[in-house]
């Protein structure tokens, strides 16, 4: 009996060590966003801030254009989510529930898109979207396109579990296809769409490669913005830390509010992909 507890204690110590390693960078980020450069570099590297300098946040917010970048990220993510959800729902319904020749081929065709990394389309895509780099569309368009396959995959997994009787009943009651899809099936698929949306949200919010190529200053997103900050604030790390916190908060808040849902959606996305 004693040996068992000994083993358990070792396990706990191991888990706690990894916990500290996991959370340390976060702790570091929050504390150094509230310190001045002298504290960060020399006097007080790891401790809690001696003076809580909320002015760092004001600095980053105004001078670093963080407010603009945050706004851009929110717009891009929001519009992308609306379109992936809508197009994803409609095409999964069309691909799985309607009857036509070639629906299997079309499904395979879209699923193949998931196997191929975005890198492969980078240059031609840049050329195609070059006229749009002053608008939000330059990112929204590729984000929607590249996230459609995973959305369709997640939603179609749920659609197959809805019995055909639902549609038959609606049809007998005189519902057309559109009303059946949008008033009967869509409400039943809300969990699936939410699962897909969380997955896509994390992808889009954290995306860097396309965002760094396809944006001009006015529509730049947060990921690119904070990357630039590392050059901009060569000597002032406080505001840089504040920028990092601002970029991380939305995902952290989402995660804290519904960690179960977030984990579920990332697992679903992975397993189906």
């Amino acid at each position: 009996m004693k040996k068992m507890t000994f083993g358990k204690v070792v396990c706990q110590i191991f888990l706690i060590l990894w916990l500290i390693l996991c959370l340390f960078p976060l702790y570091y980020m929050f504390t150094f966003s509230l310190k001045d450069t002298n504290e960060i570099m020399k006097v007080n590297m790891l401790g809690l801030p001696r003076q809580w300098l909320f002015s760092n946040y004001a600095n980053a917010w105004n001078a670093g254009k963080t407010s603009l970048y945050l706004f851009n990220s929110v717009i891009d993510t929001f519009v992308t989510l609306i379109f992936t959800s809508l197009l994803g729902f409609m095409s999964s319904y069309g691909l799985l529930r309607m009857r036509w020749k070639g629906q299997k081929i079309a499904m395979t065709y879209i699923m193949m898109g998931m196997m191929i990394p975005m890198h492969a389309a980078l240059y031609p895509l840049t050329v195609t979207l070059l006229p749009l780099t002053k608008t939000h569309l330059s990112l929204i368009i590729p984000y929607v396109a590249f996230n459609l396959p995973i959305t369709i995959l997640i939603i179609s997994g749920f659609i197959s579990s809805i019995p055909y009787e639902m549609e038959e009943a609606a049809c007998i009651d005189g519902c057309g296809v559109f009303r059946t899809a949008f008033t009967i099936i869509l409400p039943m698929l809300v969990p699936a769409i939410a699962t897909a949306a969380i997955f896509v949200f994390l992808q889009v919010w954290n995306e860097l490669l396309l965002a760094s190529v396809l944006t001009t200053d006015k529509v730049r997103t947060l990921t690119v913005g904070i990357k630039q900050m590392s050059g901009q604030y060569q000597t002032e790390y406080g505001p840089m830390g504040a920028g990092l916190v601002i970029a991380t908060l939305p995902t952290l808040v989402l995660y804290c509010c519904m960690s179960g849902q977030v984990q579920k959606s990332l697992v679903t996305g992975a397993v189906k992909g």
């Binding site: 890198h119 980078l122 590249f146 904070i226 989402l254």
Partner: protein, 302 residues
């Protein structure tokens, strides 16, 4: 019912926008990239662009002092190796431990997953500070000095300095995938094994790990594909002109050196590499699945 669901117009309204949009934004650019990778230079910038077959790929792998691509591929393979042999086993140990009904199970699970949801740019910038401020200070405390030029510029340490943050970030992800699979093993199997006297490592090795093989395959393919595509973290940590990984090489060749055909062939190489390893994994795991019934038959003496 059937008539309604096979109405041509409504099908077109539902499916066509997605198909057209997807083809235009995903498929056509990919086909173009493949075509560009076979040309001497892309038509838009060179008048004498002509078909050269696989010359660009040969150029990518010709050993030369200024050709960084073979080294980049080696680095990505090394990263894949570290990921498969260190990161995944470590995640598996974590998953086994927290799924064994230890105190604070869901707390650990939720906390370990936090790095996954944070943007990899943020993660890299935090690690940049760790490499530049905290580690040197810590080394000084115990009487050592940091490597020449710092961790991120020293050629001996820089690849490790790049690998560690990405490995660290995704441990939680793999752990969660494996944890989910471990939790879905029927409890009567575990109980039977315990009654038979298996416990701890033995239970993990003979019962739990074989039962989550499909999920291990998912994790393996994730970590392999992720290694070949790795971009964000090294790009932030190593700076704009680094060519030390295939995706970085492609980016620099494309947007700094403007050698679009060469960059396209690097992109095609990345894709092919991903596909080859996916097929390979499928092959390896299928073989094992087919072998098992045979083994079971042998064991039951038929």
């Amino acid at each position: 019912m059937k008539r309604v669901l096979s109405n041509k117009w409504s099908i077109m309204v539902f499916v066509l926008p997605t198909l057209v949009f997807f083809t235009y934004i995903v498929t056509i650019p990919i086909v173009k990239t493949i075509w560009y990778s076979l040309l001497s230079e892309i038509p838009a910038i060179a008048k004498d662009s002509h078909f050269v077959g696989l010359d660009n790929f040969i150029k990518l792998f010709t050993p030369a002092r200024r050709n960084a691509f073979p080294g980049a591929v080696l680095n990505s393979l090394m990263y894949a190796g570290v990921s498969v042999f260190i990161q995944l086993p470590f995640s598996l140990i974590l998953a086994l431990l927290i799924s064994s009904g230890i105190k604070g199970e869901s707390f650990y699970r939720n906390a370990y997953f936090i790095p996954v949801v944070i943007s990899s740019v943020v993660v890299s910038m935090l690690w940049q500070r760790i490499y530049k401020d905290i580690l040197p200070a810590g080394l000084e405390l115990i009487g050592l000095s940091e490597p020449k030029n710092g961790f991120l510029a020293n050629s001996n340490t820089k690849m490790w300095a790049v690998f560690i943050p990405s490995l660290w970030q995704y441990v939680g992800y793999h752990m969660l995938l494996m944890y989910g699979a471990l939790r879905s093993i029927p409890s009567d199997i575990i109980e039977a094994a315990i009654v038979d006297g298996a416990s701890g490592p033995r239970l993990a090795w003979s019962i739990q790990i074989p039962m989550i093989k499909p999920m291990l395959k998912v994790c393996l393919s994730f970590s392999l594909i992720g290694s070949f595509k790795l971009f964000d973290t090294p790009w932030v940590l190593l700076g704009r002109d680094a060519k030390d990984l295939p995706a970085l090489y492609m980016y620099v060749t494309m947007f700094s050196s403007h050698k679009y055909s060469l960059a396209s062939s690097a992109a095609v190489f990345i894709v092919v590499e991903c596909l080859v390893f996916t097929v390979l994994l499928n092959y390896i795991f299928r073989e094992q699945n087919e072998r098992q019934p045979g083994r079971a038959r042998r064991l039951s003496g038929k």
